[in-house]
Amino acid sequence: MLRWIPALTLTLFLAPVAAGLIGTLLPSVGLMPVLGGTTLTLAAWRELAEWPGIGTSIRLSLTTGLAATAISLIIVFACCATCHGTRLFGTLRRLISPLLSVPHVAVAIGFAYLISPSGWIVRTISPWATGWDLPPDLATAPDQYGLTYIAALVVKEVPFLLLMTIAALGQTRAAETLSVSRSLGYGPATAWLKTVLPLVYPQIRLPVLAVLAFSTSAVDVALILAPSNPPPLAPLVLRWFNDPDLTRHFLAAAGASLQLAVVIVAVAIWYLLERVVVRAGRRWATGGDRGRWGGIGRRTSIGATTIVIFMGFMSLHGMAIWSLARRWRYPDVLPSEWTLGNWARQADSLAWPVWTTVSVGVAAALIALALVLGCLENEKRYGLQPTTRMLWLLYTPLLVPQVAFLFGGQVLLSWVGFAGTWPALVWSHLLFVLPYIFLSLTDPFRKLDERYIRSALCLGASPTRTFWQVKMPMLLRPVLVSLAVGFAVSVSQYLPTVFAGGGRYVTLTTEAVTLAAGADRRVVGVYVFLQAALPFVAFVIALGLPAWLYRDRRALRVAP
């Protein structure tokens, strides 16, 4: 049974991606019998090439994706280089962790309000400092070049990349390397950049590529913050997909395939950039410069990280206040009338999306956990060596743009009459939940002291009993944390819910995106707040439960 789990996992996991891609590629060359497409034709690609503004859309996808990834990575490395090992680093890390679990959409909606011309930032400085009695006519959110969009992506990606970097640092001999280079007279930041960065980067390359793929093909954040005429490619594909003219389906399929190509191009550009940086960096690293700009660099990077954290929190904070506002007009810094009515009125409408969000999130996280534990236990018992290739497979759903395979996946789901069902929804979320659960659980599982298990086996316990009675209790905290991570990932999913849910299932995230288009900011505030709160509650349970269960087991308690 156990031996089959890795194969089962990969099938459950990769088959839909592969099938989805095929289901996207075939219609793009005219093959879709349901819509009368039975002959091979490139008509859809021609239509795509002639679509007004398609060039701008592609360029927007590429530039925003590459810029968001590069800026996030630079901030993360600058922060690590200048603060690694200091007490401030711990503080920044603790502050930034909660942002990781917040769905992208929640940040994007809050961010849009924060920086709009009549938004919170302008309100705090108007009219006394700016003289703006009325909001200025500035296109900020969204702006023409996608700068706001990039900024919102950076706010969300910096926490992720920072935590991945910290995890990678734990796997390298960073401290020793640093002290050797420091003793050779290198400044702290220079030492980090010259000696630790080359060790860390290969370890976080996959997460970086996942960030790049996401930023180049995001739909939900783009719907809220990206320019809309023309939009980046991914929201444009969704627009075609929703077009009542069914022949647009072929165009949408071609667009979705093009999106895959765009991501591949983005990755290729990234590889080139890596080469350039490596070549220049090697000369710099071996050039002997001990570093002079440490002080300024430190202040700048702490400043940038603080701005990211601040923007992230203020985005959510602004929407939380909106959910309690009755009247909040420009240029009031805070609402002039407060109320609990927004929450009371929404109670009924919230029940359905909250239930879907929670049930799908919990189910997907539990199934993913079972599969991951099965794989890891299998690996341990049969002494298998995990390979990098395996890790790449796991990352597949995060590297392939969602729109490219979910599109075809939906076609196949409808074909087998499975679309718009709860299991289909759970499955679609599983694809994205599983890699994250795997990432967060692998290390603690593999690092668990083998001697405990040996002792249990020597005492005559079966492997199964050892698993349940020794491993699980000892791993309770990482297991629960990984569940919370998985739940948070599920809560944030937009496109999988739209495609697999077929309009019969809505979650807080899909509702928030729909409502953000126009409806009442006070109500959107309620949705954004809940969206951010649910994963947070999951993490509180994940950290609190073991602490409470093991309150009288000193060795199982975690150092605070």
């Binding site: 007004p52 969204p142 409808s414 126009g518 006070r522 109500v523």
Partner: protein
């Protein structure tokens, strides 16, 4: 003889009884009975109502409807919030293409105009059902002809009327003293108040209606709008495109971006980014004030030559899974209770489709007792109602607009 007579009598009685029984089976049951069957089958059904979800007050009203039909009929109503009704049309169309002729994912659609024409034309609708609804008898088909003629297309019972809409404009008297009175007035307003005017981006229905309203006033031959658009499209709409091009540089964000829909523009009015918002509900401003969405100084205005009015409906797709449930909901929407609640400016402020004369005194009282709302124009100030152009105009205007401004 006696025995034979008895047999004959017995035979006669038997025939009578059998006939009586078969009467029930063979002949169409009375309307009441048919309706009772619908209500009985509806019980326990889950109805997925695909309805535009851009306005929170409307969403709240739909949630209220859900409570009421759940309590009265045991129907579970799910509001699938759309950003464009075309999404629901697409879903049903895709299901038909895939051969899914029952168990479809859409049970009820909030619809009118070009989407109705498209669905009716492609036989995507269940029906005719509207006239089987007991509450349909209250509908004012004589004085509100748009309840049976939707954008010049005969309804034929394939959709059931829900509410009356009329284009109005909202502004804040604290900032704007004299609003424009005509479409050309908007251009002058925009020129003298740079970046203080905009309209929602089509295909949002408020944005499209604003374009049609402009077309009405600008074209020298508004009568042709009642017939399908043909080769005359370019000639008839030329003044409209010139008007939009003249206006563009003076618009909010220099006409480079547009609010996504009506409520988004109303938010801009409240934020002070623009001076005018557009709505389809004459009581919208009052309702927005009551709900804390606009300042107390907000008021409504209309245009001298009248504004476009129409009726919005609900329809049931041909492959709906819960047809009976959807029918029951459609009937409830026509009840005096639901219609009066909807017309209340504290709730939504959408005008009723019912004829007051057909209601019982008690039901009429529900409407008479409604407040008109401080920012709502009295009926005699609301101006003439212009009929909707044929849907083909809307479809083509949308397309041209998207080509010029959308990409």
């Amino acid at each position: 003889m006696d025995r034979r007579r008895f047999r004959q009598a017995a035979f006669g009685a038997a025939v009578f009884v059998v006939g009586l029984i078969s009467d029930i089976g063979i002949y169409p049951a009375s309307a009441d009975e048919a309706w009772n069957n619908v209500v009985a089958s509806a019980k326990g059904q889950e109805v997925f109502w695909n309805a535009w979800g851009g306005d929170e007050r409307i969403n709240a009203y739909i949630a209220w409807v859900g409570d009421r039909v759940s309590a009265q009929y045991g129907v579970k109503l799910r509001h699938v919030k759309l950003s464009d009704t075309a999404e629901a049309v697409r879903k049903v169309l895709a299901e038909k293409a895939a051969g899914r002729n029952d168990g479809g994912s859409v049970d009820l659609i909030w619809i009118n105009g070009e989407n109705f024409k498209a669905m009716k034309g492609q036989k995507l609708l269940h029906g005719p059902f509207a006239k089987t609804l007991p509450n349909f008898s209250f509908v004012d088909v004589e004085d509100k002809p748009t309840t049976i003629l939707d954008f010049t297309v005969p309804v034929d019972g394939y959709e059931s009327p829900w509410g009356m809409a009329k284009l109005v404009f909202m502004y804040d008297t604290a900032r704007l003293k004299t609003p424009p009175q005509s479409i050309t007035g908007f251009l002058e307003f925009a020129k003298s108040n740079p970046s203080r005017f905009t309209y929602p981006a089509p295909p949002d229905f408020i944005g499209t209606t604003f374009l049609k309203q402009a077309l009405y006033e600008l074209t020298p031959t508004p009568d042709v709008l009642q017939k399908p658009a043909g080769d005359n499209f370019d000639a008839v709409t030329a003044p409209l495109w010139k008007f939009l091009e003249d206006m563009r540089p003076h618009q909010w964000r220099s006409g480079r971006s547009f609010p996504k829909n009506g409520p988004a523009q109303r938010q801009l009015l409240d934020d002070g980014e623009v001076e005018i918002a557009i709505s389809f509900h004459p009581a919208d401003a009052s309702s927005a004030i009551a709900n804390g969405l606009l300042p107390k100084t907000a008021r409504t205005f209309v245009l001298d030559r009248g504004t476009i009015g129409n009726t919005h409906f609900v329809a049931i797709p041909f492959n709906a899974r819960s047809k009976e449930g959807a029918t029951v909901v459609a009937n409830f929407l026509l009840s005096p209770e639901a219609q009066a609640h909807k017309q209340n400016p504290q709730i939504w402020g959408d005008d009723t489709v019912l004829a007051m004369g057909r209601l019982s005194p008690k039901d009429r009282e529900l409407f008479d007792s409604l407040p008109r709302g401080v920012a709502t124009l009295p009926p005699d100030k609301l101006g003439a109602t212009l009929p909707e152009p044929h849907p083909s105009w809307m479809t083509r205007i949308e397309k041209s607009w998207l080509q010029q401004y959308g990409q």
